[in-house]
Symmetry: C2
């Protein structure tokens, strides 16, 4: 994500510095001119910066904000993160020194690979980029964050951190848990009948993909969004229980009446997702 | 599915006859020489056949077997279906006239498009093809069905109908219901916050795809496999509840310990799915 940011912002930046502990990633990024400078020293990396973008797990970002980075930053620096949940980070940002122009951020890219070698200047193009205000978001900070999103070619969506976290619980964290629980279910079946794996095809492939994601990353995300995820799990259970009740009681017409709106909603959504949502109503 | 069967079996068949009510589909199949003859008359279509393959919704196949087709068939005809659930169909096949060589079938292709214009001679190649014995499956019938699967380039998996139905409940019907319930949940959210649709990305795309499937087809499948689907739903609920309990009680390490095996199982499976399962132990 950081490499893609660097590539996308290249035309707008005088100097791009990577702060990165992974020496190999630094060497690669320098060699490919993705960045101009690289350092493993946070203070050195950020102290001269006009814009700082934090790309790291949620709790790493939160810890760096709370414990160290405030005293390293210049006044009037634009300080944005791209962490996957926003409530804790935005709260921490609100306690940064006055003068830091801090805005929470989350690009919705659906990126499936990570690592600097997969950096892609077009990753953010046309995709939503959520911006969440903090107690350090002045009107000027907001405009600079919007300009940053525009530079990436992304679409800005401004909302409170809590609203963001609730929405991503629905479209991202709940789906991950369903995928993991599905794979766990099939794995249980596989203990008594291993053929279950061999018969699985395209439907299972799609529904199990998220379960293959990095567990540390997902644990970090879930642990910083527990309440919203629990809420969505409860709402999901209701929907699944309704479907199940109609199925086992053999109310076939009512079951169809429930499955058709889901089919239509999905078809409408994939059309919009692939062709662009209409705005400006 | 029928068109793909015809194309794949072309080198092995003297005459291929389509029995199809849709006149346009018949004309297309004749024009493209997918079939040699086409008729909307079942008796005419099957009465001279050495091999009959039923490609239709489960309950249509079942009704045709129970009500009409038995008296139309030649003795020693190989009679196979490709319906998505097997218990009801295989039971009906068992009541066909003695002399009909009937075997239940289900190719696991993960085909995402339907219609004769998407016919693909390679659809079955390298994919599992389940064969389920019936009371009309003589040893000769079994060998002919195996030869049919070999002609398609598919891999035969012989098992009882009940075992098949339980396995596909896990890898196909449960995933569909989860996908539909997820979309229904997001649709509920969308009623209070329509932005949920615009922020959704690749994870939601994959997890919602199955919900966009044909509801009539899925209703037919679910209604003929209710018990196995209910069993799998119950098993799934246990897995999801365990994940939720660890999440909300903030037992992060135990949560990780549960998510890691799911990740590994998925990674192992996708590797095997893409590179071929090892056989011969």
């Amino acid at each position: 994500m950081g490499g893609s940011l660097a590539l996308a912002l290249r035309p707008f930046a005088e100097t791009i510095t990577a702060v990165e502990m992974d020496r190999q990633a630094c060497e690669y990024a320098l060699e490919k001119r993705i960045v101009d400078r690289a350092t493993d020293d946070l203070r050195e990396g950020v102290s001269e910066a006009d814009v700082v973008i934090m790309a790291a797990p949620v709790r790493v970002i939160q810890a760096l904000i709370e414990r160290r980075i405030g005293s390293y930053l210049r006044s009037n620096v634009l300080f944005v993160d791209i962490g996957s949940t926003k409530k804790d980070i935005c709260a921490a940002m609100g306690r940064l020194p006055v003068g830091v122009q801090a805005v929470g951020g989350h690009p919705m890219t659906g990126k499936e690979t990570s690592g600097v070698q997969y950096s892609d200047a077009n990753l953010y193009k046309g995709r939503p980029f959520v911006l969440c205000p903090t107690r350090r978001t002045t009107p000027a900070a907001r405009l600079r964050a919007l300009a940053l999103v525009a530079a990436l070619g992304a679409m800005p969506f401004e909302m409170e951190a809590e609203r963001h976290d609730h929405l991503v619980a629905a479209i991202s964290h709940l789906p991950y848990l369903l995928s993991a629980a599905l794979v766990a279910t099939v794995a249980k079946e596989g203990q008594t009948d291993p053929l279950v794996w061999e018969l699985a095809a395209g439907g299972f492939r799609d529904m199990s993909r998220l379960a293959g994601q990095d567990v540390t990353m997902m644990g970090d995300i879930l642990s910083t969004n527990t309440q919203a995820v629990a809420t969505l799990l409860a709402l999901f259970r209701v929907q699944l229980a309704m479907i199940e009740a109609l199925l086992v009681s053999r109310h076939e017409e009512e079951l169809t009446d429930m499955l058709i709106p889901a089919r239509e909603a999905r078809r409408q959504w994939i059309h919009n997702y692939e062709n662009g949502f209409k705005h400006g109503k």
